[in-house]
């Protein structure tokens, strides 16, 4: 059997997905037996023009991590879609926008103003902000354009599969790679994980319907190791989030932040999380409820930590 042609790419992401891919350890050798890597900017020197020269659908599988927020990333998303038989959104950023997706609370202009003009360590008397074109004696220099809105990969081009996580757990990555190696692919559109139910289904903590009078940040309380973190007043996204990770965060006394994306059947992860939080508040007094809710810092950043671009609203209004 001819070896599989595998491509890996990173768009708006942090590099953690590459670490996660290496985390499969000695299984990489098994992967190398059946697949040749034809494009992987983090590790091998293959230029974009080399990819452009490849015949359409000549790449068997492309693992694409990162969201789409520049013209370069959009170009590569479209290019790799053309060249790949199977395109996989790898990790939370490609799947639902991820942490960089929180930029959808702002727009390009306000981001440039903050980063290049206002930050305390900035010395920029000529108020220079990035331009896509610049003329120098040697010719015209260009850089990609930054967009106002971060999009997920499936919002940009159709994908066959999704591997969730920030980053995906090693066992999730391997579950997908093993299916590819053995040619036992799930139905197109599948989100690959060991558990389609919520993270709570993976979590060993007990729920005993305790009602919450105050929400805490993690450093503010010492939690009971046996009891559900949400019921102890920590903003745990487990109820709204796809399982399969094995709930390592709640086991380490940290609330789930939602990195595996919406649980099966959940359209808007943040709204579902918010609804779960509302249901544990123990008060029917309007003012008291307001006070309890006011303790939640940065609601969008809490409820839509990874999934703002994938939410029903997708972004804040541009004034």
């Amino acid at each position: 059997m001819a070896k599989l042609k595998l491509a890996l790419y990173w768009a708006a992401s942090c590099g953690g997905c590459e670490i996660a891919q290496l985390q499969i350890g000695e299984k990489l050798l098994k992967l190398a037996e059946v697949a040749d890597i034809v494009f992987w900017p983090v590790a091998i020197d293959v230029k974009y023009k080399d990819v452009e020269a490849m015949p359409d659908k000549s790449i068997d599988v492309c693992l694409f991590n990162g969201g789409i927020r520049t013209s370069e990333q959009e170009h590569l998303a479209k290019l790799l879609r053309e060249k790949s038989k199977v395109l996989i959104a790898y990790g939370a950023c490609a799947y639902v926008g991820g942490i960089p997706g929180l930029a959808n609370l702002f727009d390009k202009q306000s981001i440039f103003e903050r980063v290049y003009l206002e930050t305390q360590s900035t010395d920029n008397p000529n108020k220079v902000t990035p331009q896509t074109k610049h003329q120098v004696t040697e010719g015209e220099l260009t850089i990609p354009e930054l967009y106002d809105t971060v999009k997920s990969l499936p919002q940009t081009v159709p994908v066959e599969y999704i591997i969730p996580g920030c980053p995906p757990e090693e066992k999730t990555t391997w579950m997908a790679l093993e299916a590819l190696i053995e040619g036992k692919l799930p139905p197109v559109g599948a989100v690959i994980s060991h558990n389609a139910k919520a993270v709570c289904d993976d979590c060993q903590r007990k729920r005993d319907v305790k009602k919450v009078k105050k929400f805490y940040r993690t450093y503010e309380i010492t939690t009971d190791p046996q009891i559900c973190l949400l019921e102890q007043g920590l903003l745990c996204a487990g109820l709204a989030t796809r399982g399969g990770c094995g709930a390592p965060c709640p086991q380490a006394n940290m609330p789930c932040t939602g990195c595996y994306g919406p649980a099966q059947g959940v359209t808007d992860q943040g709204a579902h999380f918010l609804s779960a939080v509302a249901s544990v508040i123990d008060s029917s007094d309007k003012n008291e409820i307001q006070k309890i809710v006011d303790d939640i810092p940065d609601p969008v950043g809490t409820f839509y930590r990874y999934s703002l671009p994938d939410s029903l609203l997708r972004r804040a209004r541009i004034k």
């Binding site: 013209s71 609370l105 106002d148 809105t149 940009t156 609203l313 997708r314 804040a316 209004r317 541009i318």
Partner: protein, 53 residues
């Protein structure tokens, strides 16, 4: 949370109307639609749709 999205308080209203209060129901719906008409479109589609969003 909707404030963080740039959505004004006036665009959201939670009220209770009994099945027997038809007039009140109509008045609230009229008030709300009038209020929304004054505020104008949400404009969220700008930046959401196009490739250059």
């Amino acid at each position: 949370m909707l404030n963080q999205f740039g959505i004004e308080d006036k665009r959201v209203r939670l009220d209770w109307v009994s099945a027997s209060e038809g007039d009140r129901f109509a008045a609230i719906v009229n008030e709300m639609t009038e209020q929304l008409r004054e505020l104008g479109p949400l404009g969220l589609s700008r930046g959401n749709g196009g490739a250059h969003g």
